[in-house]
Symmetry: D2
Subunit: 339 residues, 4 copies
């Protein structure tokens, strides 16, 4: 089958120290410290994967392109890749996908039915392959699995005709049939949307219907969050975004107002649009918290709402400082999430 594969040279920087979960020559949690000179190739004759008893084989129907996919293929002047996270190359790229079950392992249970998967079931798939047996998994945090693999990063992904995945990572799209034209397209959006859902609903605790929200940054996370929070009953959803095209798109995703922080005074605009109330939840989704944190703080300080939640979504490109000053912090709760 055809597949889009990335490969690179294992060439750790002098400062790099093999981590406890890294595997020399193969896998690292700090990609940009190790991988050099990435090459993306289309392979024509990759064998169709064989499934294990707990797996299903999917015919991939749709697969999105994530910023991470691009950052794995991009390199700095010194040849090291942009992407700083868990990686093991060569690997087929692609982790935002949906497909149809075409083969079923003897223990591959469908969570929808509690029985074995049936061929033809449309599904989307978690990107993180968690073991279910280590301490974080047993404590209810599979995203912190100590033996994590990531589809399309450290093991083969979905820029391919077929992919074998553990059935426990699959979520059926069956109920969407008949309601939407292209359920696989919707299915491929689940992974990136889940980043936003996890940030604002799971980690951030959501809002009560009728509360205001302010989102800084109208990238994929900010846009999805706008839609999610309007769905959750946000009274006013204000999105701050300098790029006009994105700001316009934010409106179609549910923003009631947009602010251009390069041309307008962010704090004054939030006060104006909310009649000085401010917001119950502020989402930092610009990837530049060091730039916008002061604005968030001043907003909280000058508006009437107290006990606001500030959700910081970090980008994978780099480690970034999350700053908050005390006067404001006492009026807010800061929560971290990862894009």
């Amino acid at each position: 089958m055809k597949a889009v594969e990335i490969s690179a040279e294992w060439s750790p920087k002098p400062s790099f120290k093999l981590g406890s979960k890294d595997i020399d020559g193969k896998l690292t949690y700090l990609g940009s410290q190790v991988w050099k000179n990435p090459v993306v190739t289309v392979i024509d004759d990759k064998p169709i994967p064989k499934i294990k008893p707990n797996e299903v084989l999917l015919q991939v129907k749709r697969c999105g392109i994530c910023g991470s996919d691009v950052h794995m293929a991009q390199s700095y002047d010194d040849g090291y890749i942009y992407y700083p996270g868990l990686t093991a190359f060569p690997a087929t790229l692609g982790h935002e996908f949906a497909g149809e079950v075409v083969e079923v392992g003897s223990q591959a249970i469908n969570k929808r039915t509690g029985k074995l998967y049936e061929k033809g079931e449309p599904v989307t798939v978690e990107e993180m392959v968690w073991c279910g047996e280590c301490k974080p998994c047993c404590d209810g945090f599979p995203n912190h699995c100590e033996r994590l693999q990531e589809i399309g990063f450290s093991i083969d992904g979905a820029f391919a005709e077929y992919i074998a995945v553990p059935s426990k990572l699959c979520w059926s799209l069956k109920k969407l049939e008949g309601k939407y034209e292209d359920i696989y397209k919707i299915g491929s959006l689940v992974e990136p949307t889940s980043v936003a859902y996890n940030a604002v609903i799971e980690r951030g605790g959501g809002i009560r219907p009728g509360e205001n929200v302010v989102i800084l940054g109208a990238g994929p996370v900010g846009l999805a969050s706008a839609r999610i929070l309007k769905t959750a009953g946000a009274a006013l959803c204000i999105v701050s975004e300098p790029n006009e095209h994105r700001a316009k798109f934010a409106k179609t995703m549910g923003a009631d107002y947009t602010i251009n922080p390069q041309k307008e005074n962010f704090v004054e605009k939030v006060k104006e649009y909310t009649d000085n109330d401010g917001a119950a939840l502020y989402l930092e989704a610009t990837g530049l918290p060091q730039v916008v944190t002061e604005d968030i703080q001043n907003c909280i300080w000058e508006c009437k709402s107290v006990n606001s939640t500030v959700v910081i979504v970090a980008r994978a490109e780099q480690r970034m400082p999350v700053c908050g000053e005390y006067f404001q912090v006492r009026r807010a709760r800061i929560v971290g999430a990862q894009a």
Copy 2:
């Protein structure tokens, strides 16, 4: 009666802008920007205050000396006081106190009985005078009252023989009678202990019995938190503190281990004492988060516990940055509280 009063000159710095809740010449939310050349005086003939219908008159029995008391009296080289918060001078100092009810207003209800206060009732008193009618008060956040006054800061405090206070701020010590020798001493410790309780239990959400905690800084907030968290069932309570005397005191307050961060490797010691588990709750109580945040982050990153809560207690002396890097933040929730 005798009273210890502070006065100073209203002399706003050129950069100071009167805030919306400030009163020119009288009250400001930013003390260190305004008050110059503080003088503390013992007055001999201050009149005993008259109570209003909703107030009680207390004979003060015990009153602690807070860092803030000192910082109001201390000044920088340019004459401006250290203390940066809500202040209106002249005012009698003293806000950590307990006393005996000696006079009772016609509407002064005792929360213990639901009836009028009786003379002789021993009580301790909230330091914040909240209005109960503004939006934050009605929303359940009296500490963010929009018409806040603070006893011993912006209105007369308890370094005096008598003080008149609204009955709704009083909490009876009656149940302690017979159980402790000096219930007024205990009562005077309620206010500072509440800062710690609010930080680790109310804002930080507490712990489940059997979880570990790490406290950075063995000042009053750190020490009280050690005792509170051991009482709440902390398995291991580790306190990091360079001052040997304080470290020793931390042990009497419940610390199982202490770390001297200037002589020992903080992260390695936490890993050693917890068998690599780390803690469910980290309390930043050094007043120097910019110095210790990286250690907290590395601890969270290298230990097994995930979903840790980081509580940052800010000091009133200055605005201080609260820093967190993304890789760690995703494993933790950061919460702010104020000392």
Copy 3:
């Protein structure tokens, strides 16, 4: 001015024991045990009330009729009134209302602005008059105030041209101006809607967007809850209601499906509509939990969702048993709220 007043005879049943907060001959927490032979009269010459410093005078614009209003006026064969709660007669009826500020006390602060109310401000009003000084009030539960009065029950209500109310109970409708035709009508719906909001959002903890809800009973609380929960992002909202007219109305309020429990199998229908998933939140709003609890339990037991929340809204007409069997309870959390 004109006013609609209720009066009745204070005639305690032999079994009635004056409660600790009751006032002989005047006020009781158990109306149906005490008040006999109610009479509702239209008075023509009631004096316009005088305001206190912390009050505003409102010209009443809209006032709803609550089931409680009817139940205070209705009596059993022995003459005792239906309504079992806090009452002190005579009193002007009416507690679901909105009006315009026409007179302002010297300390009557507007929570919207933080300043004195201005004449002309449109407001709606809390029905419970809480003291703000007793233990439950100070603990953040003003609805459990130990010195509670209720507008239209134990003190004069809004079936009158004017009413004086403490400003802290008023909430401005100003922001609705220009957005809705009749903001006073909307304002008068706030009190009954808040009963539903308190039940499903505050007490019940709300839902995450995308979860299903099942509502039993399409009375005012059930209907308002349908709208609130759809606003909060309910994927499917299923309402069970035998009355066809009400069931139809439930659909206009947001129900995706309705069940007629007298003609259809409730459990089977929930399973069918949710593809066996069941719901994250079940709201008992029939007033007959003893009749429907078993259905809720079987639903939870037979569907896939676990950790469901069951919210029981009690009616004031009578004390009602809330039953749950163990096998189901372990899969659910039961929460009580009051209509």
Copy 4:
């Protein structure tokens, strides 16, 4: 090896309907409806179990006797067993145990180290064998696993010299070495103590240090809860228990006061001991909620504390009604847990 095995006849009552997860002739979720004439035998020559790659073999060191063990062996006059839950016979009994790792599967990871188990590691073991792949497991509720097996109930337990168990169910006792004399005895108490911990801490949400608790019933769950809640900082722990021996034992487990509800007035005593405050958490652990619920309600109603949590621990012996009346319910949150 030696083992204590239970067997019985599969003889479903006429009214019994095979459930969706039952297996005819082998396994049922409703033991008392199916199994007749139980026989407990000591077997001398049971083969030592072979481990799978994800399992460890334990030499059993300590195993408690649970009420359920007795109830599986006891039968009503018609021959049917007492125990109503998940069962598949014949099975070796015993589920409260600890042992030493003597053989290690090739994928048997130790959660303590993140590496393969080492021989000699002391461990205790979860009783529920969850699949980790069904919907409840993936949603974070392994105790509601759709393919649940229970050690000592539906698969072989620990009344034997050796037992093979999945490593993911094991929890190391290593850290207790040197701190306690008999760590295996402590280890065997983890399972029953976890029932109490789950009830009062996980499901019930715990308490804040300084709050009061009231426990009804001093059986194993009540006793363990007394200890747990005192450890969590309960100010007063009051235990109601008619049996004098158990009441005395409750005191050694941390109870500050005990009430004999057959000789004393429960509500009056709670009011007396708490100075009318009541409790933040009431635990129903008598197994007879229908008998004691009214007392709990009256206590909540007459004491000052509001927003109390009522935790109902159901016994496996029978389905039992959980009753609450409306006036009280509005002051409390009811939570179910299973013993």
